[in-house]
Symmetry: C2
Subunit: 152 residues, 2 copies
């Protein structure tokens, strides 16, 4: 396997990142989906990178963006003041699946979360993504919660 | 119903907040649970209040803390750069349930999230909390996702 590295996203990654995020039937079916780097995307990117509690991670192989996820570190009073990490927008390039890139991406995320003092990592995954649920279960995640969402 | 108001938590609310968070069998069963305002709780509180993307909300009635929740605002590239709000640690004092305090608390949270430009609000709720799931469904939340967690 060619060497796979993980780093923070840069503004120049945005076109590749949007392509990755759109490389998914469920995501494409959602309102507001776009591959265009418009002002709302630019603003969101700037907010993510300016916020010390957010990290947008890029997996790179042979100079190409092949995977991504976003981490948010959240302080909380519960469980004795436990800090948690939330994972959002996990993607691996569809033609590269089955090569354990996703596993390496998630292991990297768990290391980052531990280094930030998190005692828990959590995510929600669309109930239609059965393969994703098996993948996360293999990594030690337990589907103990209902993930509930509401448009505003 | 005596008037119910919502505001940001203050350090002097911490003992009441921890009591509220502990007023729950599922929470009590979790590792690290404590009612004592120790240094980890103090640090978590300071981090929450210092972070412009976190709000710790307190519901007050007759000068007493009767409800709480935490909001985290998360910028993201998905769905056209949609900002989302995450809700954690929702509690209503157990002897005051059935008085629509929880509903007012969540309506207040949704208003705050909208005012912050969020297009989506989300939460995870323990699968054993059937009443909570019905409550959130009445407020328009859809259990479309699995909520998966892993200790670190």
């Amino acid at each position: 396997m060619p060497s796979l590295t993980f780093r923070h996203a840069k503004a120049t990654d945005l076109p590749s990142l949007l392509k990755l995020l759109a490389d998914d039937a469920i995501a494409q079916s959602r309102t507001g989906y776009t591959e265009e780097v418009g002002p709302a995307i630019q603003t969101a990117f700037e907010e993510i990178t300016a916020d010390p509690n957010n990290e947008l991670i890029v997996g790179e192989q042979d100079g190409q963006v092949v995977a991504t996820l976003q981490l948010t570190y959240i302080p909380g009073l519960g469980r004795g003041g436990l800090r948690r990490a939330l994972v959002e927008a996990v993607r691996v390039r569809s033609d590269l699946r089955g090569q354990r890139i996703g596993e390496a991406l998630m292991v990297d995320a768990m290391e980052r979360a531990r280094a930030r003092g998190c005692g828990l990592i959590q995510l929600t995954t669309d109930k239609r993504r059965h393969e994703a649920q098996r993948f996360y279960a293999r990594l030690g995640f337990v589907a103990s919660h209902e993930g509930m969402k509401r448009p505003l």
